[in-house]
Subunit: 476 residues, 2 copies
Amino acid sequence: MNDNEFLRACDALIGAPHVLRGADQAHDMAPYLSDWRKRYTGRALAVLRPADAQQTAAIVKLCAEHDIAMVPQGGNTGLAGGATPDVSGRQVVISLRRLDRIRQVDAANHTLTAEAGCLLANVQQAAQNAGRLFPLSLAAEGSCTLGGNLSTNAGGTAVLRYGNARELCLGLEVVMPDGALWDGLRGLRKDNTGYDLRDLFIGAEGTLGLITAATVKLFPRPAARMTAMAAVRTPAAALALLNLAQEVAGPLLTGFELISDFCLQLVSHHFPAQRYPFAQPHAQAVLLELSDNESETHARQLFERLMETAFARGIVEDAVVAQNLQQSQALWHLRESIPLAQAEAGLNIKHDIAVPVSRVADFIDATDPIVQRIAPGARMVTFGHLGDGNLHYNVMAPEGVDAHTFLRQFQAPVTRAVFDSVHAHHGTISAEHGLGQLKRDEAAHYKSPVEVALMRRLKIAFDPNGVMNPGKVLPD
Amino acid sequence: MNDNEFLRACDALIGAPHVLRGADQAHDMAPYLSDWRKRYTGRALAVLRPADAQQTAAIVKLCAEHDIAMVPQGGNTGLAGGATPDVSGRQVVISLRRLDRIRQVDAANHTLTAEAGCLLANVQQAAQNAGRLFPLSLAAEGSCTLGGNLSTNAGGTAVLRYGNARELCLGLEVVMPDGALWDGLRGLRKDNTGYDLRDLFIGAEGTLGLITAATVKLFPRPAARMTAMAAVRTPAAALALLNLAQEVAGPLLTGFELISDFCLQLVSHHFPAQRYPFAQPHAQAVLLELSDNESETHARQLFERLMETAFARGIVEDAVVAQNLQQSQALWHLRESIPLAQAEAGLNIKHDIAVPVSRVADFIDATDPIVQRIAPGARMVTFGHLGDGNLHYNVMAPEGVDAHTFLRQFQAPVTRAVFDSVHAHHGTISAEHGLGQLKRDEAAHYKSPVEVALMRRLKIAFDPNGVMNPGKVLPD
C-alpha cells in the first residue's frame, strides 16, 4: 500500500474532511505540527481527526498494520514536545479533539466520564452543572484536553488538596498500539482484581496507548474559599508556615505557592496595573488558599487563627487577606502573571523540578550559589507549588545581558548543575511537565539502569513495533 | 545443582538458621505453609528468611538462576491464598518478616520509609511518635505487614478520607524476579519522569516483583473524632445520608459503614455483652465517623448540624452519638464483631464486592431476590464500606440448616449469580481482598480478553520465566 492508498483508506474510515494532508492543506495542518511554544516543529504524512473511540481504534489498527508511527495530540499545550511529530514526514498526528463528549455524570457516585478531547474547562463546567467540583485546574484549562492532562499527569494549583491528574482518575478507555480497545472505564473506589493498567497509561505521554476517555473523581463544591498573600523572610519560614497551615487546616488547605520577591517585582515591572501586594518589600511571599465545605464565616475564623499563630510565632512579617472573590482572583492573577512577565523579560533557563517538601529550602540555599558561580549575576526567578515540593526554578540573564547570548553560553552548564543538585536532594527533574522530547535523555541520564530497563520492557510489551509516539519519554 | 547444594547456597547467603527445611523443621515451617483461614495448605522446599533487601535480592537471584519458584510472604493474613505455596514442594517461601526496620521518618515532608516486614501497627506507631498519622487501618493491623498491605492494595476503614494503600504510597524498593534491585524510594508529591512502575507492583500480590521497602504518606494528626451510629430505613436512605455527610463535612468524613439489622442481631446474639445500639429495631444502621483537625467543639457542632439536617429531612430514624473515646470504640467494636459473629454462626458464602457508590442500593435490591430464588430462606449478612461502594455481601444458611450442607449445595450457584449481578452493575468481584488463588479464575472470567492479554504481557515482561509467585492473580 503506497501513501495515497493509505490516505484513501483513512478517508474511508473517518471521512476525507478529517484526513488533512498535502501541500493544499499545509495551512490547516500547521497548528498540529508545532508545539505552542514553537520549540519543536515537525512534518506529518497526515493529520487524522477521528470522531470517536471506534474510529480511533480503526485508524490505529490501520496505521499499525502499515507500520506508520502515530503521534497522539490533545490541545497541544504541552511543554515538552510530547505531541509534536518528528521531521521525517512519515508519522501521522492523531488529534483527539473531536472526541469531546461528556458521556456521563454520576453526581451520587462523584464521578464523570468524558472523552479525551474534552477541554478541561468543559469538564469543570459539566461538574459544576451537576453541583460538583472537578478540581484539576491549570493555566491552559481553556485549551488543554482531559486526555492530554492524563497523558502528562498534569498538576496545577490544587494538587495539595486533591492530588494530580493520576489521583483524580478512576478509569480509562485506551486504544492499544495494535488498535485493540481496552474498556477500563470504571467508576469504582476499590477494585483489586489484578495489575493496575490505568496508572501505566497515565503520564506515559501516549507512548503505550492512546487514551480515548476517562472516568474521573468529582468532589462536593466548597462553600467558601479564603485566599491570602503572606510575606516571609526565607523559604525555610515558608516551610514553617506550610507545616502550621497543615496542622490548623488539615485537608482544607488547597494551595500553597512560594513566590520570591524578584518574581513579584518582575510582574509589577512588566504589568504596572498589578500592584506589589505589600506596603514594603519582603524577601519571599506565600500565596495560600483554603477551601471550606462549611461556610464563609468558618473559613474566615480558621484563617484568622492560622495567621494570628503565624504572626505570634514570628513566621510571617505581613499578610494581605482577600476580602472577596475579586481580591482572591487578583492575588492568583499575580501568581499566574509570573510566567508571562518572564516571557516579557526575554528567554530564560527553565526548570520544573521537585524535591521532598522538607528539603526545598536546603535545595534553594545549596543551588543558588552554584548557579552564581557558573553564571555570575544571573537573576533567579524562583516560584512554584511549595506544598508539593515543586519549584519552577528559572534562571534569567543578568541585568543588561542579552538573553540569547546568555542562554547559548549558560543553558547547558546551568541546567546540568541544577539537575545534579536536584538529584543530590532526592528530587525529580520533571515534576509536572513530563519528558516528551525535551527531557527524555536527561531523565534516562539520572535514572538507574534497572529503572530504564524496566521502562523499556514495558514499552516493548505494549508496543513491540514502536509505532506509538516513538522517540518520546524513552530514548530510541 | 541438586536440592542440597541449593539449600547450602541459601545458607551461605542468609545464614543456615534462616533457611528452614526438611522433616526436622516441619514444625517451624508449618505456619508459613497455610493461610491463616486454613483454606490453603502447601509444601515448600524451604522457607527463606533474609535479613534485608540485599539478602533478599541475592536469594531471589539464586532462585531465578535455578528456576526455583518463589512465594513472597508478609504477615500471612491474606484472604485469597496469595502467599501460600502450591503442593509440589518445589517452591520456596520468602518471608519478609525480618525486614522490619523503620528506615526514616521525615515529619516535615509527611513521609515515612519502612521495610516490607514492618507490622502495620508498628508503622502507625512510628508515625504517631513523630506527631503524624499513618491512616491505613484494618482488623489485622497487629499481624499484617506493610509489604503485604501494598502487595494487596489493602483498604480498611479510612479509605473514604485517605485512600487505600495505593494512594498512600509514594515510593517502593522492589527486588525484580531476576534479583535486580529497583530503588524507587521517592518521597515526592510530583514526579513525571516516565512510566509509573510503583503502581504496577502495588496490588500485584508479589507476582511481578518482591516489595522490600516503601515510602508512604503521613498526615497531621486530627484533633478530634466523632463517631455515631444512625438508624435508617433502607440502603437508599443510607446513600442519602452519605451524600449529605459529604456535603456538610467534605474531606473530614473519614468512615461510613453500612450494617444491616441482621448483622447487629447476629452480634448481639453471639456476644450478648454488645448491646443492640437502638431502643427499637431498625432495618439498617450506618456507622459514621468524622475526624477533625480543629477541635472537639468544632467536630461536635459540625456533627450536630449534620444529624439535625438528616432528621429534618426524614433520612435518619434514630441516632446514637459517642460521647467519648470509649463509646466510639464500642461502636466500632460492634462493626468489627460482625465477621467474628458470622464465624460463630458457622460457615457462610462470602463476597467482597464493590459497585459505584450510587448503585449500592440498586445492587442490593436486585441481588437479594436472586439469591432467595436460588437458596430460599438464606440469610443475608450485608455490611461494608458504603462510602467506597464496597460491600461484604455474605450469604448464610437458613435458620436450622447445616452450614456445610448449605455451602456444598449453594456456594457455586449463589456466587455465580452474585458476581453476574456485580458485573451487570459495573462492579468488581474483589474490592479489597485481591485475587490470590481464590478468585484468580473468576477475575479472568469477568475481564475482557483485551485486559487479560495486557495483564499477561506485563507478567511476561517482568517475569519471563514465571518464577515469581506463579499461579496467583493470573491463570497459569
